[in-house]
């Protein structure tokens, strides 16, 4: 068992290299909640499940195991804020723990990458799971300094919950973990048509066939637009990228006029725990640049 209240923060690719504001917000939230966050030196891509697992499943496991080994050496569970990283690391970690033969094969190849040996001593956690279940709506309440008044369309993404037999977190047909958590922050979840479908980015499709990816995404946006939320709330930087660049694409190419701010759960929670609006980094994003969280504050402990 790894140490309590300490996480090895797995950055992945998109968060540090495209949305550092999510990295900033995550550290802020976790530290506010009393966790120690450690950097994982020499970590790399998880590697992304849709692409690298498609190319070579064996190498995908070996590369993932290398990342897991870095955290094992730190004696800390991994924290990730990305569904893709979670998908890869949680799944490989589970398979290698359960299958001795596989572990031997992977460890054999790991030797080629340096001083690494998978031992199976840590867990891989998604921030949403930590917030929703370890902290919970009951536990976050005392930490809230700002309650917002927002209507949000929630996008769970795919790999946080599925395959349910491997994740073992929540139902994939009617999950409630995010809804239950954000209610106490003041956010109302607005259901929309076909809410639980994919954003269209995964599985290497965004890189392989951008048009196909945008067709899938266009339907998603149409359904969201029907219920006119204040924000789109996601829990994955890749979905985040899709919602950001996708809205921009639809505006430029399909005559749409979307401007829904795309907010990661780390950003939302950070704001409610007192992080300044500037650090949320909406000014760096394509959508909702002028969206003002502050205007929606209904309870501001710091102001009081």
């Amino acid at each position: 068992m790894a140490r309590d209240m300490i996480f090895a923060f797995f950055l992945g690719c998109l968060m540090p290299n495209r949305y550092p504001q999510i990295e900033k917000a995550t550290k802020f939230v976790m530290e506010k909640l009393g966790y120690e966050i450690l950097e994982m030196e020499k970590a790399a891509c998880c590697p992304a499940p849709g692409v690298f697992r498609s190319f070579n499943k064996g190498d995908w496991m070996v590369h993932a195991a290398r990342n897991l080994c870095i955290a094992e050496k730190m004696d800390a569970d991994i924290l990730t804020v990305c569904n893709g990283c979670f998908g890869t690391l949680q799944e490989v970690n589970k398979h290698l723990k359960e299958d001795e033969n596989l572990r031997e094969q992977v460890n054999e190849k790991l030797k080629l990458l340096g001083d690494y040996e998978f031992k199976g001593t840590i867990e891989v956690r998604h921030m949403t799971e930590v917030l929703g279940w370890d902290i919970g709506s009951w536990g976050i309440e005392d930490h809230i300094v700002r309650k917002v008044d927002l209507r949000a369309s929630i996008h769970y993404g795919c790999h946080f919950l599925k395959p349910t037999t491997i994740r073992e977190l929540d139902s994939s047909e009617k999950p409630t973990i995010i809804e239950d958590f954000i209610e106490v922050l003041g956010v109302e979840a607005v259901p929309f048509n076909e809410q639980l479908t994919c954003c269209g980015a995964g599985g290497g499709v965004k890189a392989y066939d951008g048009n196909a990816s945008m067709k899938i995404f266009g339907e998603k946006m149409k359904n969201i637009d029907e219920v006119k939320p204040d924000i789109i709330l996601d829990i994955c930087p890749f979905c985040h990228l899709q919602f950001e660049t996708g809205q921009d694409y639809l505006n430029k190419n399909k005559g749409c006029n979307y401007d829904y701010p795309v907010i990661h759960i780390a950003q939302l929670t950070a704001y409610c725990l007192g992080m300044d609006a500037e650090s949320l980094g909406l000014q760096y994003q394509l959508m909702g640049k002028t969206f003002d969280f502050g205007a929606k504050v209904i309870k501001d402990k710091e102001a009081a």
Binding site: N193, E194, E226
Partner: protein, 679 residues
Amino acid sequence: MTVKDEKIKNSELAEGSQEKMGFPEDEPRIGVYVCHCGHNIAGTVDVAEVAESASNLPNVVEAKHYMFMCSKPGVQLLKDDIKEKGVNRTVVASCSKNQHGRTFARTIEEMGLNKHLHQQVNVREFCSWVHKKDKDKATEKAKKLVEAGVNRARKLEEVETKKIRTTKAALVIGAGIAGLRATYDIAELGIPVYLIERNSTIGGHMTRLNKTFPTNECPQCSISPLTNGVANHPLVELYTNAQIKSVEGSMGNYEIEVEIKPRYVKDNCTSCGECEANCPVEVPSEWDKGMSTRGAIYKAYPQAIPATYVRSKKDCIECNTCINICPVQAVDFSQEPETKTFKVGSIVVAAGYEEYDPTEIDAYHYGQEGYDDIITQLQLERMLGPTSMTGSEVMRPSDGKIPKKVVMIQCVGSRNEQVGNKYCTGVCCKFATKNAGLVKDMYPDADVTICYIDMRTPGLNFEEYYKAAQEKGVRYIRGRPSEILKDPISGDLSVIVEDTLSQTPLKLKADLVVLSAAMVPPEGIGPLGSKLKILRSKEGFFKEFHIKMNPTASSKGGIYLAGTIQGPKDISETVAHAGNAAALAAQPLVKGYIEKEMLIPYIDYDLCMDCGMCITACNPAAISMNEDGRPDVNEVACKSCGICMPACPTGAIQLLNFRDDQLLDEIVPIAGGGVVCNE
């Protein structure tokens, strides 16, 4: 009347018999007979060589080979050798014991030998059929198998057959169509039947149905002669609100305790209905699958038998209105539960099935808030039925409107490994076709669609029935829906399915979705099974003795299975199944006794440590601790399976003719050496 019948007639129905038990005093004189079975055996095995080799074995006085041992001249060989050569044990090397073992055993019995002194050796399935390509080795193997058989024959003991008197009465559990059929058939043979039913009325699921396929008949009309016939039969005692408490005994003689819950309404009830009309309580009707409500005092449905009203204590608020209003003072809250004990010879289990509850299939949202317009086929039956709340119209539960688009989904809880049901219920294709056709008849302009994986309509009249529905305009789509979506804005439901035949993903608007839910084992089957001590199949139903040749016997002698408690069935199949169960249950009761070979284990109490491992291992529960705290074998209940032997840590318990030393002797030649036991 045959000679054999004559023998039985004249024989004493006694607990003991004149037959000897144990090892005969005469020196073993063994006859060995190798069968050619045409080319089946002789084509591969050198039968002459096998016979020749057997003739050199100790105690073998005759060794022959013959074309067809099971033929009349073949059997005659045994007879002649017993008579002329003094052969007193036989070994036939031919087919399996199941196939012809009994033929030869019967033959030596006719010649005055105990039938257990015959040893069957299977050189066909175990030898010639599996080693066709290597005749030499096959012959060698056959020799060893025969030697093993001779070794075994040398030590065979005589086993007696006992006749055990049976109690001339039967118990039937469950008064649905299967239980009613079995009850009536047994009672008509002059055997008293105790029929017990868990619910307050009899008739089961069939009374809920609107029509039955393939003739669209009224099920009430079909079943009421039987319900009335049973309820009024002089040899039938009917107990409703009754459940099994305990079961003791074994085949032929059971003692069952039954708990009967009170109705709180006396038999002088005239069924006038004043009590329910004035009852302030309103709860969903179980019988109506929640499609209407009932009072705390109620009658499940107008034609219910018994017609006496019943009070649900759990729902009652004890306002006493019914007590005061009853014109004949039939309501009596002071009634107490009653326990009765019945002695019977046979038990028929007809506990029926339950409709699968689809709530666990999240993607279909059945039973979830806001998804009222997703119902099951039984609920649709209740809407269509003559006594329905909707006046037999199909109405959407959410707003009472008549749906213009009805989508039925097949295989809900069937053929679905995710919910643990691998099996095909086998009835749903037919009842969905029936209901779709009926809805189409009533509302010709409505779109009625059935989404299916495979249409399964085997048997006479069913393919025709399917075609008739197609001609009415029922739309069949080959594809299993992935989910039922609800538009959060309009509230409209749609069914997502691929039409696999045209490879088109479809989003079908649906005003009403009907789920063709599987048939699953009824609630309470677990406790009932452990009281009866009968096995269940992995699907959860009670397991039949043999799927082909004995589909109504349970794993325990004297307990029979009728209808859907053994697995999904339609009404015709249920009735036929129940009739067979009744015939089997009645056999020992009509005859008055059962014959039982005393091929049972004996316990060496010097070696026995009273650990009870044999008791735990014994499936038919034939071993129990006696008053002295020592294990005792119930020779009637024992099934001669021998599982007690390996369970015993000291070898104290030994099954007759399967004793350790007998089996060792048999193994020695096959294992290629060792010492034959001398004691």
